[in-house]
């Protein structure tokens, strides 16, 4: 099993005033195929941690390697390239482009990472198929239910076949039944070999996860 995420005493301090230590000395190893739930009270630093893991943000201290690459040495542009190929994101707000079809939204996930143009459509269709939306590919987001929109967002995240899927409150906007279906989908993706890290308030999510990490006031502890 190869290591996907290797956090070593990672800190993220927002220079104030007042300065906020959103993440303090986080140390965590996530192996390929892991399913990690990140829980904790509001404002504890979960989203900040996820941003660092997803290379959207840089740690202000410590060392972080994603798939063996030390992100501290990378330029802005290289971080973007790394995100585009290795990381898929799913957010609480779906971030779908309202004027584009489901298929086009998924293709955006393949736009910047050197996927040849002619392969994008097939890959996007396969991803939509995988999340159970093969029959909705031409629909604009406004004609889709909340659960379906989140599936489109998941398809967009997994279309480039990333090493890691990061989800921030993926079920936050969904009712419990729809949430359960999304969590079922995550289980399937994990069974396919995908590595997942999911930030959540929802106890149901941590029941599906293999590991649960709790953050309180920026300090991380793994529940067993």
């Amino acid at each position: 099993m190869s290591v996907i995420v290797e956090l070593d005493a990672v800190r993220r301090t927002f220079p104030g005033p007042p300065a906020v230590e959103a993440v303090r000395d986080a140390t965590l190893t996530v192996e390929e195929g892991d399913y990690v739930a990140v829980v904790g009270p509001s404002g504890s630093g979960k989203s900040t941690l996820l941003s660092i893991v997803g290379c959207l943000d840089r740690p202000t201290g410590g060392r972080y390697e994603l798939t063996g690459i030390d992100v501290g040495e990378l330029s802005d542009g290289e971080l973007a390239a790394l995100r585009g190929r290795r990381v898929g994101f799913v957010f609480q707000a779906f971030h779908l482009l309202q004027h584009r079809s489901a298929l086009e939204n998924v293709e955006i996930g393949l736009l910047y990472n050197q996927t040849p143009r002619r392969e994008r459509r097939a890959m996007a269709e396969a991803a939509l198929e995988r999340v159970g939306l093969g029959h909705r590919i031409e629909f604009p987001p406004r004609h889709l239910s909340g659960g379906e929109q989140q599936r489109v967002a998941i398809a967009r995240a997994i279309a480039p076949r990333p090493s890691l899927l990061l989800c921030d409150e993926p079920t936050g906007n969904l009712d419990s039944k729809t949430s359960e279906a999304i969590l079922g989908l995550f289980d399937e993706l994990q069974a396919d070999g995908l590595t997942l890290m999911v930030v959540t308030h929802d106890p149901a999510v941590s029941r599906h996860a293999r590991r649960t990490v709790e953050i309180v006031d920026g300090v991380m502890a793994e529940a067993s």
């Binding site: 190869s2 973007a80 707000a93 004027h99 584009r100 996930g109 910047y112 050197q114």
Partner: protein, 416 residues
């Protein structure tokens, strides 16, 4: 079986092809079609104003130059310098009787001929020897003496008969060619029966009737006799004016050579009238028309550019979430900047294309209404869309810089 990419240390770069950039920009613009259309309108107005102004100025300029071209660009006239309104009394003319022969020898002269007003001591002209008791039969009609080449030199055409020739001139025959207005007054419509006219007591046989004399309109209502005839019958002393028709482009050169050919000893005594330089006329007209409207067009364009900048900035603020999402899926800052620059440049380009088309239509419409031939420098309609695109690009600089400098985390937090 694993779908997911394994470990790989090479990071590489994100990229976005021109084709993908274009389709993303078009999709971005089509997402808000009416806003895009309204934004483009300002550029359309500005470019239309500029293209129409340049076209109409050029058309009007060419129109005037066209008139010069047809007649005056090949017309050279030589007169005595001292002759004029206040010249009274007998004068010595410096133009010789053989002026025509001297001038046609010059390279570039198509035809030349003298034309001289004949003093008939106020004698009236009539076409019948006896007074007609029923109406006016005597008229004050000017008599001109000419060398045979004059008719060719002034583009004269005949409705009946013929011009007099060198033989008539040498034999000093009492023949005349009459202008159309004079012929009407004298009631002469045909010449096959050799109608006679009388200038006082002098009898002249009409051999031809003119239809048009484009370069010497005075001949429309005049009687023209050969120089030799005028010397014998009216005591003409010397020719006073020479009309020359030159080859195209030779007018200025002939204007310099003609006085020397006519009066080698003292060419300065002769005054030469040559056509104005066509380019000078055209430029004068164009600059008059241009200045005001070019300023108006530039102002409209500036307003259009500010419109594009404003709308693009609003669009950036509205699409913060989209920007964050694109950054998350691998877009570098330059790709975000390129997207908004492409959208603003596309708006400018489309405005330029529509404006150039509308401007050309305005030029054609105005020309049709004025019965002008529309003339437009082809570089204008080609440059207009490029100018529009450049304006759009410049207008998009600040908004796209704003978009590119957003931090991905902040952008994702900001929008939906």
């Amino acid at each position: 079986m694993t779908l997911w990419r394994g470990r790989n240390r090479s990071v590489g770069r994100s990229r976005l092809s021109w084709r993908d950039l274009t389709s993303e920009a078009v999709a971005g613009l089509l997402a808000r079609p009416s806003r895009t259309a309204l934004t483009i309108l300002g550029t359309v107005l500005g470019i239309t104003a500029l293209v129409a102004t340049l076209g109409i100025a050029r058309t009007a300029g060419s129109q005037i130059v066209g008139q010069f071209d047809a007649l005056q660009a090949t017309s050279v006239t030589v007169e005595n310098r001292t002759e004029g309104f206040f010249g009274g009394g007998p004068q010595v003319s410096h133009i010789p009787w053989d002026a025509e022969a001297r001038l046609v020898r010059l390279n570039g002269v198509v035809a030349a001929g003298t034309i001289t007003r004949v003093d008939t001591q106020g004698e009236l002209v009539r076409s019948v020897p006896i007074n007609d008791p029923l109406g006016q039969s005597e008229f004050a009609i000017d008599v001109y003496a000419a060398s045979p080449g004059l008719f060719d030199a002034i583009d004269a055409t005949l409705s009946a008969g013929r011009f007099f020739d060198a033989g008539h001139d040498a034999r000093r025959d009492p023949v005349a060619v009459v202008g159309p207005a004079a012929a009407r007054r004298l009631n002469i419509t045909r010449v096959d029966q050799q109608p006679a006219i009388f200038v006082g007591d002098t009898t002249l046989v009409v051999v031809g009737i003119l239809t048009d004399v484009r370069r010497e309109p005075v001949l429309l209502d005049a009687i023209v006799v050969p120089n030799g005839t005028a010397r014998r019958l009216f005591g003409l002393q010397a020719p006073t004016k020479v009309a020359i028709r030159t080859e195209l482009g030779a007018a200025r050169l002939i204007g310099e050579q003609a006085p020397v050919a006519l009066e080698p000893n003292d060419p300065a005594t002769l005054r030469v009238i040559v056509p104005p330089e066509p380019r000078a006329v055209q430029e004068a007209v164009e600059s008059d028309v241009n200045t005001l409207f070019l300023v108006l067009g530039a102002v409209a364009l500036l307003v259009g550019a500010i419109g594009i900048a404003n709308v693009t900035l609003v669009s950036v603020l509205e699409r913060v979430g989209e920007i964050g999402l694109r950054r998350a899926v691998g877009a570098a800052r330059r790709h975000i900047a390129a997207q908004f620059l492409a959208e603003s440049a596309a708006m400018g380009l489309i405005g330029g294309i529509i404006g150039a088309s509308a401007g050309v239509l305005v030029v054609v419409g105005v020309s049709a209404a004025q019965q002008w031939t529309p003339v437009l420098d082809l570089r204008v309609p080609v440059a207009a869309p490029i100018a529009g695109a450049v304006i759009g690009l410049v207008a998009g600089l600040y908004p796209s810089w704003r978009a590119a400098s957003l931090e991905p985390v902040d952008a994702l937090r900001g929008g939906t």
